[in-house]
Structures are given as C-alpha cells and as structure tokens.
Assembly symmetry: C2
Homo-oligomer: 343 residues x 2
DNA sequence: ATAGCCAACCAAAGCGCTTTTAAAATGATG
DNA sequence: CATCATTTTAAAAGCGCTTTGGTTGGCTAT
C-alpha cells in the first residue's frame, strides 16, 4: 500500500530527481510534468518517508518539548494547553512535536541526547528557573530554543515569550489597595520559578508604593494545588489579624482558597476579596457574564502558538536577531472582589 | 562536537561494522573490543543519528499519540497525566513520543499520514467513541495500536487497556443505595465516549437491581468542567424532589457540584452525598487522612505506563496475541458521603 | 551552419546508519 | 603440519530521500 519515490518515479517513467523536484516545487520542472507528478502522488497516497528526508536534508523537521517532571504535578494542565497551541502551528508547517518528560537530574542528559541524535531542530524550554542551567547548555549544543518565561538572571540574549507577570500582579495588588484592602495575602507558585518571583516582585512594588510594609507571614510559595491553596488560606484566616484579600497565582489554588473561605463562614467577594491569575485554560472556564474570579488573564494556549512560530522562524533564519515577546495580561473584573469591609 | 560513526571508527582504527556491532551488543565482537569501543563512544559523546538508524532499520522507534482536539478542553489534564506515564516507559526503551492534536475531521488524514511517512511504529488511541472509525482505519494501515478505553461495539480483537467503569459505577451507586439514598443524580461525561456510556450502564444496573426506576431528569451528560458541574447540580437541587446524592464522573465536575451544594446552603457529606471518579491526577490531590471526596479511584498515569508497555511488546512481537488489560477502580471512602437524611 | 544558451530532464553520489556477505586470523583436531 | 571450525574484522550494499553535476535536444544569435 505505501509507495515510495522510486516506485512512483518508475510508474511515471521519470527519474527520482524530477519527481522529487516536482513535488518540492523546484523551478526546473515543467509545469505540465509537475501537475502530472502531483496528481500521481496524490492518487497513490505518496508521502515521503520522514526519516529518509530528514537524513538527506539534515533537518529533522521536529521540535522537542522537554517537560520538567518534578514540577509537572501541578503544571501538567498548563503544559498541556501550551502544547495544544504549539502543536497546531507545527502541523501547519509540517513539523512534528517530540515530547519528553525529564527529572531535573536527567535534564542535561536529555537535551544533550536529542541534540546528538539529531532528533529535533529546536526545543521549547518550559518552566524556567532562576539562573537556569539549560540556557548555557542549549547554547553550547547549538540547538535553537525559545523559553516560555524568562530567566531573571542576566544570561545574555535568548529567545523568550512571557507574560508581564510583574505588571499583572502590580496592577492586581493596586486594585485591591484601591478597594481599601491593606492586609493582602499572596498565594504564589514556587519561587524558584521565575514567573513566581516576578509576580511577587509586582506585589511587593505595589505595596511599597502604597507605603505598606510587606509581611512575610502573608506570603505563601509552593505548588499550586487545590489542597495547598486550601491549607495556606485556612492558616491565614485563623490569624488574629486575618487578611482581607488574597492574590492567588492559579485557578486551581484559588479553588482551595475559596473552599477555605466558605469553611470559615465567610463570603468571597464580600468579606474576602480574591484575585487570581487565570491562564485561560479551556476546561477551567473562569468565564460567564461576570466571571467567578477577578483575574489577571492571559491565554497560555496562545503563548504556545506564538512560541512555536518564533522558534520555526528562528530555524528558518538562523542569522536573524533572536525574537522576544512580552504579552500583557488583562485585568478582568469578576465577582470575587469588593471593597474592604470591617471584619 | 557531535561525532558520527565513521569518525568514531576511524579514530578507533576499526570498521564501522565492528563499532556498530560492539555498541549494539552483537555477539560477534570480542569483549575486549566492545569495551574499548564503548569507552571511546562515551568519551566522545557519540550517539547514533536517530534518523539514520531509523532509515536503516525501518523502525522509527517512536510512538504516536494523537489527541482528539475537540474533546481536549476538559480532557487535557487527563491526557497529560496519561502521557506522563507513557513517556517514562518510552524513554526507558529508547523510544520517542510524537504528539499531535487533531480535530475529528482531520483524524483519518493524520493517522494515514504518520503511517505513510513511517514516523511512528505504533500509536495510542485516546478517548474512544462508540463505534470508533479509528479501529478499522488503523487495521488497514497495519499500524499497531493500543486503545486507552474500549469500544462498546464489537469490532473484533484489538489491544486495549481500560478501567472497569461499569463495575466502578455499579459499586458506587450501590454504596449510595445502601446508605439509603434513592434519588441519585448522575453527572456524567459526554456519552459518545465509551467510558461515560459504561459508567451510566453501571449506574442503571445498580438502580434496577434495587428496583428503582431510573429518572432521565437525574442524568446529565456533557463536558466535565467545573462550570457544567455547577450548573447541572444547581438545576437539580432546585427541583421539588431534589436528589440526595450525586455521582460525578470527574474531580473537576465535582468541584462545581460542591459549589452548587454550598450555594444552596447545604452541606456535602451530610445533606448531600457525592461520589466522584478520581483519575488520581497528582495536582488534584483528593487525598489526606480522609479524602475530601468518596471516590472510585484509578490512576490514569499508571494506565499510561501500562499502555506503553503493551504497545512496545506488540511491536517487538507482532505475532503474539493482542493484549488487553482491565483495571479495577478502588472505592475509596471519603468525607463526601453519609446516610440519607430527610431534607 | 555552427556556436551558444536554456529548459527539461537524469544518473549517481551522499546523508549515517545497519546488515549481509566475505575474508582474515585464530584455534582445535587428527 | 594440513584441515577444518570458529572467532574476529572488513568491504559493500542498502534504507528512501535530496542534491550535485551532468546530458540532451531545441532554440536563438552570429
């Protein structure tokens, strides 16, 4: 059933060269022949063997996504959505997506291996950490890459796409301050991750600007699960001077915070205000006429699409300047915020 | 930096044949030579070019996962977790994982293409639907496959791994009946999917066995988002004869149900009982000393691991009987169930 | 009429491996 | 010491494609 180039060219009475060139739109083939070849190829469902053409061209036509497995517990849905965006772009350009999960201690070996085996033409780096060792490694391997997020340390030029986490959380904090809140808690992701570090910095800047001294006790950093959100919020709500507002770094974590608020006999949006960061994951659906949560929102799927496009462009034009892209998050007003009320 | 077989063999003063055989553990190489070769290969970070060896052997050493994109809205986290399990198995066996998202109308073309391009040695079929057309297609393409789930229609022999959805929901329903509940609602996934059809059938069987006539009004089927769970439960709780128990097909959906119960001023586990199906997704964490939800639990990650192992075995021994695997779900008692109480 | 040119095509090399086939070196046997 | 079996190494073919470097024949220009 599957037919190869040789058979196709014999069937057409042409050389493999001509058939290959006709299919790849090279100019030195007459239009008439090209049509004849393309029709025959379609009729016989001919598809060039991906391995053979990769070997011949030296291009794998594949992009690698190496998912750090340590963090994937709570990161998985975000990776999935990001990849959903990227995947469509790859298909459109005839690229494949190679997925691999790796623990932190396997990471270097994994990147080295896929580079040496020439399995991919480039990679997307997920969940960057502060002073991320993957950046120098990938440079050394000469493997084009785009980082989803940024390093905070100065590692020179590299391609990245990120949302303006600092600004988003600055604005969110400011909104809460404007509503009269003073004791604002931050339920953040693990601060080894750059996105979390940036969010905290936005939060701190807004507090400082308002002349408020940040209270370490009001800041939680860790995996953003429902359970962690619940526990962190429960503990905070039991304090003598409980916070009147929560800034939560993820929808999942916020569901736990919401549970804690209910359990404490309080009403979200009235007694306690909550702002979340919303990655716009389709299955979380923080939407409706009035969204459940006030949120800084930015589509991670769209980020995936853009990252893929950036990387493919880099592969096509290796000499061009490395692209970077900063996406602003929208601040969406929902039902979970309201003015400060005396406890 | 990257070195190839030819260079390595020249460096060692051996032929490419001998080096290749030494590395691939063929017997016709002296142990001494093999050690020398392996050390040199390690020292020079030699890795065989994946494309070249794939071309030479005719085996891609890659497995395809084609994710149906229509359902991925709420399915994504489950896919991600399943793949996390499968991925580790692939790495261990030196296989790659090729990921692709495809709409239903692109599905056939996608499978046909990756088969024709010889990009993969086999595929995992996700989210089977009733009378799934992918089964005959993959047979025709002679592409080994394992289905995560089963078709309900009789399509002859094929490899699958599934949890016993019928039994799980039969037992869950029976538990609620034993607790005195009669009006039991079912918040299910889209019933074009076989897992949902099987769960309903378990639910119906248990009701019938108890001599209870099922009420269509008490059954919801659709995407299992938090929002849908909330809406379905809210509507059901407003009925004159409201259900006293909910059977919910996913953790996400159950979070919405829980919200509806709270909003109605009721207490979950006291006024209303809830049993969920829990795919044991790490970031959902329905755990603790007493889990929040009573649940039928089965790890989807483990299913991914097993599915991958089954598929690799099929590829290694194409003549062996097609493997199937039925996993039983545990019924875990949590805090969300209690005896029926007069409303 | 002949040189020169161009459009259209083709043969063959090469990508980096694996594997078949063959040859050389070694050892055992009578 | 010749003979044969066995171990070790090598040459070369081939996987299916792309691409280099021609070749051909028809056409224009001199």
């Amino acid at each position: 059933m599957p037919i190869n180039l040789k058979q196709l060219s014999e069937y057409l009475g042409l050389s493999q060269t001509t058939v290959s060139r006709a299919l790849n739109n090279y100019p030195e083939v007459s239009e008439e022949t090209r049509q004849r070849v393309k029709q025959a190829a379609a009729a016989h469902h001919y598809r060039p063997n991906a391995r053979a053409s990769a070997l011949a061209t030296g291009r794998a036509r594949a992009i690698g996504h190496i998912i750090p497995v340590d963090s994937s517990d709570w990161f998985n849905p975000i990776f999935a959505e990001f990849i959903a965006g990227a995947s469509a772009t790859y298909s459109r350009h005839g690229y494949e997506l190679l997925l691999r999960m790796a623990r932190a201690d396997e990471e270097a070996a994994t990147y080295t291996e896929i580079a040496a085996r020439k399995s991919v033409d480039g990679v997307i780096v997920h969940a960057p950490r502060i002073n991320d060792p993957r950046i120098p490694l990938l440079r050394q391997l000469r493997l084009p890459f785009v980082i989803h997020g940024r390093d905070t340390a100065d590692q020179g030029d590299y391609a990245w796409i990120d949302i303006n986490n600092r600004r988003a959380f600055f604005r969110a904090t400011k909104l809460l301050l404007d509503l009269g809140h003073v004791d604002i808690a931050l339920i953040n992701g693990g601060e080894a991750f750059t996105f979390a570090a940036r969010r905290r910095s936005g939060y701190l800047d807004a507090l400082q600007e308002a002349g408020i001294t940040a209270d370490k006790q009001l800041m939680f950093a860790g995996d953003l699960t429902e359970g962690n959100g619940y526990q962190a919020a429960t503990a905070l709500l039991q304090r003598s001077q409980r916070p009147s507002a929560f800034l939560v770094s993820s929808y999942m974590g916020a569901l736990g915070v919401r549970r804690a608020i209910h359990n404490a006999g309080l009403t979200m949006g009235k007694d306690i205000s909550v702002i979340i960061h919303d990655d716009d994951l389709a299955y979380f659906h923080n939407s409706g006429d009035v969204p459940q949560f006030t949120a800084t929102r930015s589509s991670v799927k769209e980020a995936g699409t853009l990252a893929a496009e950036m990387l493919l462009a880099m592969i096509d034009q290796p000499t061009a300047a490395v692209p970077t892209r900063l996406l602003e998050a929208n601040l969406i007003l929902g039902a979970s915020t309201g003015p400060w009320v005396r406890p």
